[in-house]
Amino acid sequence: MKRGLQSLIECAPISDGRSADRRMRTAISRAKKSEEFSQQQGFDRAIAKLVRSTPVPGEIKEWFANEPMAQGTRRSWKTTASHPAVLAIAIALAVIGFITWLKFDEQIHTWAGESIARKLLTVASATRPSQFEPVDTEAGTLGDLFLMKHRLEHYDVPLEFARVRTIGARVFDDEDAGRVAHIGTAEKRMQFFLFPAQRDAKTGQPEEFAGWRFIEQEGWTGAVHARQGVLFMAAVRGPKKELAHYVKE
């Protein structure tokens, strides 16, 4: 017989009437034919009979007159709920639930390219006008420059910002973003970034989104727009309202 079943047999109920779970019933049904088990049962029953014959003093019997007390009382749900262990578990579950909800909410509101946009906001805060190659023109015309000089297709400034006067532009490589076109402007000292949209790992298609998405970081705000596989970000120092004149949410 297996060791587990043998262990159960050693603990087999003495009285037949005592309820046994399925494992115990299985173990007993297998052991019933063996002589050892019948001897064990006879042995156990004889001892149990001897135990039952132990005289109980009268004063002890009186204590058992109040049977319900000996059975114990069920705790109300209020008492159970106010138990420190239950409270601690409830608080822990609430904290875990809140963090999970925060993470879920964060995932839902995350869009493709957000992490790169945030990185480029940091670049914007550290960029000096002298780092740009001087170009005095309207931002909307720089798409041709990027195509002709740097072979960057669809690096076009959206219409909302096409009339903004530029002070300079540059193109640089970023290990995360790839080829980035960076434009400095005179208006509100805004900076524009154009960089490739992230591509779906399965289909290879650029991951885009509709409309404008906003990010705020360390006093800077970025408004991001996706078009033809290229993301455009207008970055400005200050709150979102600084860009309200150009784009609507």
Binding site: E10, A12, P13, S15, F43, A46, I60, T79
Partner: protein
């Protein structure tokens, strides 16, 4: 558990008194096992203050066919003295098991033992008791 009637009575009364005290404070024992757990701990605490049973390899014998007849010759007090001399946790296991009140799962819950520990204690207890029986109440030769 104690092998001493007066001490057992004192432990019983203390246990019931504790239950009454808890009930009066609005925290009555959750179930009837509480009484057995509480009484067991009180017995162990009382036993710890007295002479401890020797930890030695007791003699053992296979369970005999004549065991029921041998046991029938005993007085309950003799059984109580033998059980109270057993080492823990075997003593608690034997005392609770032979009350014939609990399933093995309930025994595990009350004693806090694992199944293999419970079964080992019971099996060893039976063999040791049989050896003691053979010396105390020898079987009639057929």
């Amino acid at each position: 558990m104690t092998g001493d009637e007066a001490q057992s009575r004192q432990i019983f009364q203390d246990t019931v008194r504790e239950a009454a005290f808890l009930a009066a404070n609005g925290e009555p024992p959750a179930d009837r096992y509480w009484f057995f757990r509480e009484a067991r701990w009180r017995c162990l605490a009382a036993a710890a203050k007295t002479l401890q049973p020797e930890i030695s390899s007791n003699q053992t014998a296979e369970i005999s066919k004549q065991a029921p007849e041998q046991i029938a010759q005993l007085e309950p007090a003799q059984l109580a003295v033998w059980m109270s001399a057993a080492p823990e946790p075997q003593r608690s296991v034997l005392a609770l098991y032979y009350l014939d009140e609990f399933s093995y799962r309930e025994l595990l819950a009350i004693t806090g033992l694992k199944l293999n520990e419970l079964s080992t204690a019971l099996a060893a207890g039976r063999r040791e008791f049989q050896a003691w029986l053979n010396a105390t109440a020898p079987a009639q030769i057929e």
